[in-house]
């Protein structure tokens, strides 16, 4: 895809450039790529049990490894069944994942595997093995790639954000790539994102804006997993920036309205052209003047994109792999939902809580440790 769109760059509150940019991204594009190593791991094909094996060798100076395998389409789901470390020890098993320091998504089309996800299990140099599992009835062949971050993290990194407006000027009057830099609610939102990320040791970095050059009518409302994945695939940039598609509405496969959706966790930062290459956020709260909630959605979804999980899932079925985030174990009324009021002080006050509320603002040192090792911040 080689689409054209106006792109505006904001840094430190000043427009530095406004240009007609070719948004086809591509490896070696103009983005900040220092500190990353990309490696083609080749392809693998499933056996009769739906499994496939890959391995990768983590460089000595790598602080994180993001392995991606795909594409395999939206009708197939995949996950990591087991992961072994350079010593041959099993550090992840899908059947007992809650007892490990890793969590794996069960996801369509492209599987991202991130190590580490917790300070309790750091990445070590050497050869890791991953046993993949695919739900397809027939054989599946996927290509796998590794993205190693070899840049030491610091506690003062920035995250670049690339906004892509998908025909939202009807939802938020006048909001487009040209006007965004002066849009007061959007700037309030960005300030809010910065405040929420401060505890993670992150700040909002360079902010760029573009108008979506594809089928605006189709993607103004992102409906279901396939549209979500296809929209993210239009982001072909491999810059170290998170692409946020700002849309009028997001609905799931049953038509229910949701607030946001990030690829992952984790997503595929600095990897273009995949169904995991970004996040989608509704502008509904921006339209309502609720910039606090809009900021919370962006900060939360990018948190997922960088590898953070909910401290406790809504149904209590899982927790993040971090030691210093509270786990809610109090379903006081026994109805199977870990409601925010039941989990006060047990995670509901954290940014990565499953529901958006004004109280959900906290972050932890371990969450900061994880995101600072993502390929995204620099």
């Amino acid at each position: 895809m080689n689409t054209l769109s106006f792109q505006y760059i904001l840094l430190g509150g000043t427009i530095l450039a406004a240009s007609l940019a070719a948004c086809d991204g591509g490896k070696g594009d103009t983005g900040f790529d220092e500190g990353l190593i990309r490696e083609d791991l080749g392809s693998t094909t499933t056996d009769t049990a739906g499994g496939a094996d890959i391995s990768f060798e983590a460089p000595a100076d790598a602080v994180s490894a993001l392995i991606t395998c795909g594409p395999y389409g939206y009708d197939t789901l995949a996950t990591a069944e087991t992961i072994t470390d350079p010593n041959g020890g099993t550090i992840f098993s899908y059947e007992t994942d809650q007892g490990t320091a890793l969590r794996m998504p069960v996801t369509d089309d492209l599987l991202p595997v991130l190590i580490p996800q917790s300070p309790d299990l750091d990445l070590t140099a050497g050869i890791y093995g991953i046993r993949l599992y695919f739900s397809a009835s027939g054989a599946v062949t996927v290509g796998c790639n590794a993205l190693y971050r070899v840049q030491e993290p610091t506690a003062s990194q920035t995250v670049d954000i690339h906004f892509v407006f998908v025909g939202v000027d009807g939802d938020v009057p006048g909001l487009n790539a040209f006007s965004a830099v002066d849009n007061a609610p959007l700037n309030e939102t960005l300030a809010g994102v910065g405040e929420l990320w401060a505890g993670l040791g992150l700040a909002v970095g360079e902010v760029t804006y573009a108008d979506f050059a594809g089928d605006v009518e189709l993607y103004n409302s992102v409906d279901g997993a396939t549209e979500f994945g296809n929209l993210l695939k239009t982001n072909t940039s491999e810059d170290r920036a998170v692409t946020l598609f700002m849309v009028g509405a997001i609905t799931d496969d049953d038509g229910a309205t949701i607030l946001g959706q990030a690829a992952g966790p984790p997503g595929a930062p600095a990897i273009g052209g995949t169904s995991k290459s970004g996040a989608v956020v509704t502008v509904g709260f921006l339209a309502d003047g609720d910039t606090d909630t809009e900021a919370r959605i962006i900060a939360h979804e990018v948190g997922h994109f960088m590898g953070l999980f909910h401290p406790t899932e809504k149904d209590g079925s899982g927790h993040d792999p971090l030691s210093d985030t509270p786990e809610c174990t109090s379903d006081a009324d026994g109805n199977g939902t870990y409601a925010s009021d039941e989990c006060g002080g047990q995670g509901a006050d954290y940014l990565m809580w499953w529901a958006a509320s004004a109280a959900s603002v906290n972050t932890s040192d371990d969450q900061g440790w994880v995101v600072q090792r993502s390929a995204l911040p620099h």
Partner: protein, 184 residues
């Protein structure tokens, strides 16, 4: 609005069995505030009686924000009563209502009343709003019955939007097709 004022009185009088400071409405609002997940039928039913009225109360509350209100309207499809039917049908028929709410009301009608709602979602299928028409097609497709198929087939030659035509064609093809792919 009669429904809204009646609800306010009812909700004030009927304190649910939660801690004193947490109301049923709070619990329902929590569920429609999930970032990535909408409330499920099971989650809402387990909150006990009065959830449908709490959903309508939230849907009517402009201070809540239209995204959450939209989710509340959508969830009314899990509670097919005369009261909820009157409410969602009213939203569908109100051409001045917010598009997001009308889309969700269209879904609620199809979810809650199935074939019986097919004629009632006609305003959505004929709307000037292509996004609303698109959601109506998806919702009718979800009904998945022969009558739903006929509704979609009748709409196809009249549809002017390429997006909606694509959804129509895909929906017509999909009705009856088995789902595939489950993780072990």
């Amino acid at each position: 609005m009669l429904i809204a004022s009646t609800l306010t009185l009812w909700l004030a009088a009927a304190q649910p069995a939660f801690a004193a400071e947490v109301t049923l409405r709070d619990r329902v609002l929590d569920l429609v505030s999930g970032y990535e997940d909408a409330p499920t039928r099971d989650e809402l039913f387990k909150l006990g009686d009065g959830v449908d009225l709490a959903l309508i109360d939230i849907a009517n509350d402009a201070s809540v924000g239209r995204t959450r209100r939209s989710s509340a309207v959508w969830a009314l499809g899990f509670f097919p009563t005369d009261t909820t039917h009157t409410y969602v049908l009213g939203v569908v028929q109100d051409a001045q209502a917010d598009s997001l709410l009308r889309r969700s009301a269209t879904w609620a009608l199809c979810t809650g009343w199935g074939d019986a709602a097919l004629s009632e979602v006609a305003p959505s299928l004929k709307s000037d709003d292509a996004q609303l028409r698109n959601q109506a097609v998806r919702a009718v497709a979800k009904v998945g019955t022969p009558a739903a198929l006929v509704t979609l087939q009748q709409r196809l030659p009249l549809e002017s939007s390429a997006m909606v035509r694509d959804t129509l064609n895909a929906s017509i093809q999909a009705i009856g097709a088995p789902a595939t792919g489950e993780i072990k």
